[in-house]
Symmetry: C2
Subunit: 266 residues, 2 copies
């Protein structure tokens, strides 16, 4: 039993989908969410730079006494998870392994599509993780750089978003994918539209939910679950522009989004 | 007469439209283009952060012996031009004054629309600059955060881009704007589409061209024009991810884009 908070970080706002899944799955856990809004987005940045930024955030979260760290950003998980684990005295959980495991369980042999940022796709992290579980899996990846700004505009159902999705997902429909991994934490907000474009029979893998489940298992098995019977408290910290975080973050979390604190890194 | 290079900087790739306009207007001048690709985009960042980053780039350009600096980024011009001018021993030129002057000359009284990033629009820099020249001007601004990623995808004529433009520009059509200021260096690549959406009679103000003209005047009047009769040489420097800069930058500059050097700042 351990009432210390869980650290959650992302390049910006998208990781709030992971935070939300954690609040729902683990309502008695307290959290500190760090959004690196000064340096967002990580998607187009080089692996070295993403690693350096991620390690700076880990250092800061450790000064806050977190008992566990969730990397709520696919790009950072892809490029920095090993480095973070090597550097951290507390467990570090990424979003890619849980998503890959769920995809390997969901597919019925028809192929797995993976969508994400340019960085996540180029890293080959999802195909590698899925192939470890399912060596024969047929996997195709597509980078979808317009989805993040469309989500941040709140255009979840806009005709333009539909046209963009039609174009991005065409190769995944052609391959006959029966499973689609949402390999970016912004994408769960597009679920209804993605379902319509891909067809209702295609399983959408939401890494946020899978990661929250994995976190629950990890806390239980390590004996570090909160144990208290009062709802967790949630802090929000950003590296820049609190106003925009509040405005766009409300699309992700609604009223649960608290006033963010400002902490400058780097 | 001064053969030293001109420093040009932007948060990333967009400023290449300004670089291109300078190459065309001043073919005998050499340039160093700095794209802060590690920290792109500046649009959603706070004024303080944009100022800090811009001053770091100025310092670096000065170590390269530039004779003049062009801030080829609207957000940086909006937030940092005064600070850059105060800190720089060489002349610093932004993109907003030239664009504002051209808009004030082009309008026939029907109203001026200004489009840009969230940061440029919030700064009110264009309305302030236009009102100094034309106090009675009717001005309306719209932030168009999806235009940058659409341009970087190369979707200059995509139906999705048309839908996005229809929605963003609707208030400017309603106001009867006869002039549209392209207040972001990415937007000149959307000119044909913006013309169709706004109507061919609407004057599109391309800050890149206006800035190149202002630079020509400034160099002449300061007696620092190149004076040599050989074509200028052009260096490209980025703070991250040269591969992406080359790939996307080719949409802006074509074959004139040289292999970028990597310089880390901050």
């Amino acid at each position: 039993m351990n009432a210390a908070p869980i650290g959650i970080f992302d390049s910006g706002i998208g990781g709030l989908t992971v935070a939300r899944a954690i609040y729902e799955r683990l309502p008695m856990e307290s959290t500190i969410y760090f959004g690196d809004t000064a340096r967002v987005p990580y998607g187009p940045k080089s692996p070295d730079t993403v690693r350096r930024y991620s390690l700076e955030i880990l250092d800061w979260l450790l000064t806050q006494g977190v008992k566990s760290v969730v990397v709520a950003c696919n790009t950072s998980t892809a490029h920095a998870l090993d480095a973070l684990r090597a550097a951290s005295p507390v467990p570090v959980l990424g979003v890619i392994e849980p998503g890959a495991r769920a995809a390997a369980e969901a597919t019925r042999g028809g192929g797995i599509g993976v969508i994400g940022t340019a960085g996540t796709v180029a890293s080959q992290a999802y195909p590698a993780a899925i192939h470890r579980l399912l060596p024969a899996a047929k996997i195709e990846q597509v980078a979808c750089p317009l989805f993040v700004p469309l989500v941040e505009e709140g255009w979840f159902e806009h005709p333009a978003t539909r046209l963009v999705a039609d174009e991005y997902l065409a190769p995944l429909r052609s391959m006959g994918a029966d499973t689609l991994v949402l390999g970016c934490t912004h994408y769960p907000l597009l679920k209804p539209l993605l379902h319509r474009v891909m067809g209702e029979s295609v399983a959408l893998i939401d890494s946020a939910e899978e990661t929250a489940s994995s976190l629950a298992v990890a806390l239980e098995s390590a004996g570090t679950a909160s144990g208290v019977e009062v709802p967790g408290r949630h802090r929000f910290v950003v590296s820049d522009d609190q106003a925009r975080f509040l405005q766009v973050g409300a699309r992700f979390l609604g009223e649960r989004l608290g006033e963010p604190e400002l902490v400058r890194l780097g």
